[in-house]
């Protein structure tokens, strides 16, 4: 019994709620501007200072503070409006929500407001998943849920404050018991194929990745990113790293500086002539927001729902906004021997008047060497013999980007080499186009797949050699063979130091650390596959495998049935478990009777404990004292006025020692 009023919020639970909300807001700190999180922290501190130090809250009693609060509310709307140009978008909405929860915390007085704020906390938590659904985020969110539920548990028990640990344990128990229901609902809840209403404009955040444009510095920027572009699992045999060219946008037009794709062609994909091994593999592609997917050069079978374009890219009907997994087949030793004159003409286009020195050099090669192959060879030799440097941080090039690179700086990254090479080829009347994509990949022995990261972005060139067709030439390989054979980390040893994030695994090349990282990535891959990428397609595929149709009606029925069954089991289990566990006293007495029964004196159904004790004592005089004592303990524990846990304990230990 306590004197706490039912509607009163005690200091500990206010502090608890505030701390839980801080945890949730911390999850948003990566996306939200600093002033939002800082503002929230300030409001929380105000509330805490009120609870402990009596700092006044902005109520009507404190007119100035009260006005300040309203000014704050208006100010928040105004600032958010100014920053985002509206209050409707995702980021703006979350900024508003965070700050308004903070304000609400200030005026929280009753249990009603407490519950409302805790529920808003859950809502704020779910919005964090719009930014990241990674495993650490999920684990952290689980901790937030436990804290928020714990605050509700603490609030639901006014009066004697239970320990924080006990409340958290209860919250954890609730979550554990809810887990089966969650699993069933997660698997069976019918997933719609498309959004219910259009998403706000900023719902899809800008994602770093290859674009359909290449200008100097473009790929260099990508190499700063450690982010995974996609993961590839080969089904049987796998090509060497040097063969792994992951084909992306093909760039044909140039204005002298920037390369862009050629005119779209609706002609069907050209036939490829293939040799050697066919590799089949599946790729898990991270969202790109772009309408193409990546495949190993040269793709022969592309996934359903995509098509192969004229320049051998795999195009999808819609931008890839969610992580997808697809299978494809490719030959690494293949070439395309089909092109029409228009394509070839486009592959010779050069901006008039640009790069005079480069053109002169190419013309000279052309004069000295009649064959196209000879020109290609000469160009590669040129890159190899002249003091070219493969570097991420090339010296600034002034004036013409290609002339400046070839005859001045001579430092560059793959895009510099690719564009210079393509220009040289075109100037020598050899049709050439640039292919961008990724090259290589890091093998993960734990998960048996390759990780291709943004920093594996690469650019190479395809030249048209009349009798052989489009042939891949990688000028970067001439300058830095290691780049292609062993990957970018080996080619640029200093990369770790400049890129950051990879410093640890390059500088500290501990086998154990690497192993751990691979294991973590493999785990992530599983997580992505089983949890994050579970969608309508996978759902229906799963039900097809089981021979069930997966329309939403069937799913709803199954869902309802599953939840009912699981719910009934949970209820039955939690009630029955309690009963069996419940009566320690009766159990101890049953054990006592069982021991006597083994000596040939079972208790008759009609016999009360006292009668039984008298009868058995007479038959077993040696044990009579014990029998009398245990029966007395039982009677006191069971029927006594002041039965306590100590009595039950004494009975249990007496029965344990009892040996008639």
């Amino acid at each position: 019994m306590t004197a706490t009023r039912r509607d009163e919020l005690t200091r500990p639970i206010v502090a608890w709620l505030a701390a839980s909300l801080l945890m949730v807001v911390l999850l948003h700190a990566r996306q939200q501007p600093l002033w939002v999180c800082g503002g929230f922290l300030a409001l929380v501190l105000w509330r805490i200072l009120h609870a402990w130090r009596g700092v006044p809250l902005p109520t009507r009693d404190h007119r100035m503070l009260w006005l300040l609060k309203h000014a704050l509310a208006i100010g928040i709307f105004w600032v958010v409006y100014r920053r985002y140009g509206g209050v409707i978008g995702r980021d703006a909405g979350i900024s508003l929500l965070v700050l308004l929860i903070g304000l609400k915390l200030l005026e929280m007085k009753s249990r009603r407001e407490f519950v409302l704020i805790a529920l808003l906390g859950f809502f704020l938590l779910v919005t964090a998943f719009f930014y990241s659904q990674s495993m650490p985020v999920a684990l952290y969110a689980l901790a937030c849920v436990t804290a928020l539920l714990g605050s509700l548990v603490a609030m639901a028990q006014p009066g004697r404050a239970r320990s924080v640990g006990a409340n958290l344990r209860l919250a954890g128990t609730l979550m554990l018991q809810a887990a089966p229901l969650m699993l069933i609902a997660f698997v069976l809840f019918p997933r719609p194929g498309s959004p219910l209403w259009s998403l706000p404009k900023d719902a899809r955040r800008a994602i770093s990745g290859l674009s359909e444009e290449m200008s100097p510095g473009e790929l260099t920027r990508l190499t700063m990113s450690d982010a995974v572009a996609f993961r590839v699992a080969f089904s049987t045999n796998r090509p060497s790293a040097a063969e792994m060219y992951w084909r992306g946008p093909v760039l044909v037009k140039t204005d002298g500086r920037t390369w862009t794709p050629g005119d779209p062609s609706d002609r069907s994909a050209p036939a490829i002539t293939a040799q050697g091994v066919r590799y089949s593999y599946s790729i898990t592609l991270e969202p790109t927001n772009r309408p193409w997917i990546y495949a190993l050069e040269h793709p022969s079978t592309v996934p359903r729902g995509t098509r192969l374009s004229r320049d051998l890219r795999v195009l999808s009907a819609r931008p890839i906004t969610d992580r997808i997994r697809y299978s494809a087949e490719s030959y690494t030793q293949a070439w395309v021997a089909e092109a029409d004159s228009e394509e070839l003409r486009a592959a010779l286009q050069l901006p008039p008047g640009a790069y005079p020195r480069t053109r002169a050099l190419a013309r000279q090669w052309r004069l000295e060497d009649r064959t196209d192959e000879g020109v290609v060879r000469r160009a590669l030799q040129y890159f190899r013999n002249e003091p070219f440097v493969y570097t991420l941080s090339p010296a600034q090039i002034y004036g013409d980007p290609v002339d400046g690179f070839l005859f001045g700086a001579r430092q560059g990254f793959c895009e510099h080499y690719a564009s210079a090479f393509a220009v040289l080829m075109r100037a020598a009347r050899v049709p050439a186009r640039i292919v961008t994509g990724y090259q290589g990949g890091e093998y993960n022995p734990v998960g048996d797949y390759y990780i291709v990261r943004q920093r594996d972005a690469h650019a190479w060139v395809e030249v048209w050699l009349g009798h052989r067709g489009w042939v891949r030439v990688d000028p970067t390989a001439a300058v830095a063979p290691a780049r292609v054979q062993r990957g970018i980390d080996q080619a640029l040893p200093g990369l770790g130091a400049t890129v950051g994030g990879t410093a640890a695994d390059l500088a500290v090349d501990l086998a154990g650390w690497r192993e751990l990282r691979y294991a973590y990535d493999a785990l992530n891959n599983r997580w992505n596959h089983w949890v994050i990428s579970y969608n309508a397609r996978r759902q229906s595929a799963m039900f097809d495998d089981l021979g069930l149709s997966a329309d939403w009606r069937a799913l709803s029925l199954l869902l309802g049935a599953g939840l009912l069954l699981a719910g009934a089991l949970l209820v039955a289990w939690s009630l029955r478990g309690r009963r069996a566990h419940g009566d320690a006293i009766a159990r101890a007495y049953r054990r006592f009777c069982a021991k006597l029964a083994r000596r040939g004196h079972p208790r008759a159904p009609y016999e009360g404990p006292m009668d039984y004790a008298r009868r058995v004592s007479a038959s077993l005089p040696a044990a009579a004292a014990d029998i009398t004592r245990i029966t007395g303990l039982y009677a006191r524990a069971r029927y006594g006025q002041t039965s306590s846990a100590a009595d039950a304990q004494a009975l249990r230990s007496a029965v344990r020692r009892f040996a008639p």
Binding site: R6, A156, Q177, A178, L181
Partner: protein
């Protein structure tokens, strides 16, 4: 989840469950609010096709449902054994003691008893296999019988989103005596001698011996010394004490105020006579209580006053 019904909170083999007890677990307004928020979260998850959003929403829905099971379990072993209250005078607080027992193996947490939606106890806890006495006070405003309203034992444990309730309607009431009031002195005693002496206290001084205790004798007259000497329970007798007695008659008071005022005056007299040690009889026309003294007699008289005019 469908609200669980706790009808027959504890089914025992030997004894049937106590009658007039029924309970249920239902979402309260916080529970509905939580469902609303979860609905919005589900819509957002659907629209963004966000699987962690789905997972969190479903997890919380499961927690919401399990909170009801826990709420049910929280009240599962709770029984009301009974209630009682000591008689009071009008204007006082009638305090009902409600005896609760928890036959379950789980503590009944954050319980509160409310009656007729007006009176609510503070939150309390009944330990597993423990018991608790809750006190509910009601203002006694009218003379007669104050029945204990139907009680609701409720708990919002563990998440505040649902309320588990047990209703108990016990056949318990408290007698409310009339408020002792009135300025009239005690009526004159019948015994002329005593009337002459006029001093009721003198009787106490002339000790006349002991007699065996009879039910209804005043505590003040018990011979405590004799009791201490283990000679049994005796009552001291005083010379002339027995002779002093008053007759308290309702009809004598017909000239003052309304019946309630008359009853109040009678109650006042009963208390005065008791304090003075004067034996008294009570004549309420239809009810006649013979002369006597002591707490039992006083209570009989006050009860007669309390029930005066009621049909039974």
């Amino acid at each position: 989840m469908a609200p669980a019904t706790v009808a027959g909170v504890r089914a025992r083999a030997a004894a049937p469950p106590p009658p007039r007890i029924a309970g249920r677990v239902l979402p309260n307004r916080y529970g509905w609010l939580m469902l609303l928020v979860l609905g919005v979260m589900l819509l957002g998850s659907i629209n963004y096709n966000n699987n962690l959003g789905y997972a969190l929403t479903f997890l919380l829905m499961g927690v919401w449902a399990m909170a009801h099971v826990h709420g049910y379990r929280n009240l599962r072993g709770i029984e009301v054994l009974g209630a009682r209250a000591a008689p009071v005078f009008v204007g006082e607080e009638a305090v009902f003691e409600v005896f609760l027992r928890n036959s379950g193996a789980l503590a009944g947490r954050a319980l509160a008893i409310s009656a007729a939606g007006m009176v609510t106890t503070d939150a309390f806890e009944v330990a597993a296999r423990g018991s608790h006495t809750a006190r509910l006070s009601f203002p006694a405003q009218r003379r007669g019988v104050l029945p204990l309203p139907p009680l609701t034992i409720a708990s919002a444990f563990p998440l505040a989103v649902c309320t588990a309730r047990i209703c108990w309607r016990g056949d318990v009431s408290v007698t409310v005596y009339p408020h002792p009031a009135g300025a009239l002195p005690l009526p004159a005693t019948d015994d002329p001698a005593a009337a002459v002496s006029g001093n009721t206290l003198s009787g106490d001084t002339d000790f006349a011996g002991l007699r065996a205790y009879r039910t209804g004798d005043s505590l003040r007259q018990i011979a405590w010394k004799a009791l201490a000497r283990e000679r049994g329970l005796h009552v001291k007798r005083f010379a002339g004490g027995d002779a002093k007695q008053v007759e308290l008659r309702l009809r004598d008071l017909q000239f003052i105020g309304d019946p309630e005022t008359q009853l109040s005056q009678l109650a006042r007299w009963v208390m005065d006579a008791e304090r003075a040690g004067t034996s008294y009889s009570l004549d309420l026309d239809r009810v006649l209580l013979p002369t006597g003294i002591g707490e039992a007699h006083r209570d009989l008289c006050l009860q007669a006053l309390a029930h005066y005019g009621s049909p039974s």
